[in-house]
Point group: none
Chain length 191, copies 4
């Protein structure tokens, strides 16, 4: 039985799941190791046999979250067939995501704000995630605006990225989707 369950999900992965949920809901700093192990039903020492520190768990969480989130987005966009509809769909995804998470916002941006020290180990995961998100927009814009210069395409993709990010954080603050609507409307003008 342990063999079978371990095929399904390793203890390590389970720990990332349990901790990740708490990290997202309560914030990384506000979530204690004690709380994580209580939720996971394991002992302190066991935790530290899987992760050398809370920070290492935090890193693993963000790494996993990057994959999961991107997959969620791509699944959402599956029905959209053109670069343009995919880009606009990304903002629709944002709307449904924000409603679902009760406007909790982005795990990466939240963690960014919680880590003033820019040499913090978590920062690299955040940089990676956001870089790839910008790349995602860039890729779609390159397809959609194939006739524009590279410089123009970069400017447009970056603008969309900034609008996306700004929309996330302001939705988190104002707790309604009006900012996403405004961002999406502007994006439409750019396409």
């Amino acid at each position: 039985m342990p063999a079978i369950t371990s095929i399904i999900k390793s203890k390590r992965e389970e720990l990332i799941d349990v901790a990740g949920e708490l990290f997202y809901k309560q914030g990384y700093n506000s979530t204690g190791v004690q709380q994580i192990i209580s939720a996971a039903g394991i002992a302190k020492g066991t935790f530290y046999s899987h992760f050398k520190s809370k920070e290492a768990l935090g890193q693993a969480w963000l790494k996993a979250r990057h994959t999961v989130w991107l997959q969620m987005l791509l699944t959402f966009l599956d029905s959209k067939k053109t670069p343009k509809t995919k880009i606009l769909g990304t903002f629709e995804f944002l709307e449904s995501w924000m409603i679902e998470c009760d406007m909790r916002g982005c795990a990466f941006l939240n963690t960014l704000c919680e880590t003033p020290d820019h040499e913090n180990a978590l920062r690299q995961e955040i940089v990676t995630h956001k870089s790839e998100l910008r790349e995602f927009f860039q890729h779609l814009i390159d397809q959609h605006h194939g006739d524009h210069s590279k410089k123009e395409r970069t400017q447009i993709a970056t603008t969309i990225f900034i609008l996306f990010e700004g929309a996330i954080i302001e939705t988190q603050l104002f707790r309604d989707n009006s900012m996403i609507e405004a961002a999406k409307a502007q994006v439409k003008n750019l396409l």
Copy 2:
């Protein structure tokens, strides 16, 4: 004598200053009351005679920060004479501010991300600050685009606001001013 010194700066204001610096640098949650009173050179009890809780101090800090920050912005924009140059100047202000604060970002957005509970007392101050910032852009756009419809003007001001916010948070992450440049370039197109 106390009257004179209190004209210069009251104990309460001094406390807000000292705590504010720590809150901004280290984050609100990561700054302890003990550290604040040590830095301020006062006793525990004294602290609680000025503020009923750390949260109350946090509120006072954000309230004061709103005023100070806006004043900094307006001073920066003093030389700009038109709505258009004032709006673009706001992004120039952002650039110089981010360099000065070593890309620490916005105290309000950082605190937002640290307070998952949206009923947190600090949230109201953040909402107020960001609402007024959006209003500030709205006011300038209303002047600049007097011929546009109200709906159009709202859309443009909101877009600029979102670009401003997104630029802040991404500058904080990537630690260079390229995002502000991109945002400013887009704003230029809107004016």
Copy 3:
């Protein structure tokens, strides 16, 4: 009532007493803060309002121990009237002390051996204590051997000091007073 008891012994001094007993019996490293506060009947936070760290308590302990120990020695030597009998009396004191403490040895030497890092804050207290003990022997030898050269007197006092120290540590190991006897016999030859 609190006023009166505080005249007799402050909480801080009581804490040093309680901790000191544990430090001596179990060793500095093997005594936890939790155990100290349990024995003292106070809360964790209270402890840290009196001492900024366990190390600070350790320093205070050794500082106090130096005074107390020297007083014990001087009291023991009160009946001895000449430098010679005082020196030999010091070894008699050692005998009775070792019996009383069940051969636990010297708190300073024990702590020395527990602190490999020679920059450890406790080390200075140990150096001070042992320096003053050597000085104590020096003073008595200077009186007893007033006709000898300074160099000779220094050599003799240092020898006695080394014999004293060696006798302590070996008594601690072999758990009988034979080493003290041998040391004392040698000291007799030097006087």
Copy 4:
């Protein structure tokens, strides 16, 4: 192949070596099993298949250290041809040893001070080591002072032993060789 490598050094011996270095540098109590296995590059279970406890490893370490240390001493004394020069040479050995180990002192005395419980299993190894060291001096004195009575010879050998021990611990404290010099000067007078 395992046979050949085991001729060179068994896993057990390697473990003693690795642990011993840590025990000596950091102290027995301050060195954790985890640190030992990390340094040795083996797993927890492997460790406990070689030693039933940390204490058992400690015993093995001291047992080995006794042999190694004595060998180091004898090698150092190889060039000394008389009992007298061998005894004085022992103090010269002490000087060079203390310099080499950065005044870390004697592993046996350090461990003695870390083990308040005199029934501790490590104590026996320490007793054995120090007893043999005293015997070593006794042996040389018996040769050198063949004309003295046994009682006199015992007194002299014990005195030298105590001076040696006292010199070790005070060199550890004061971090210079002056105590060894003084002890050696006194020993000269006894020969």
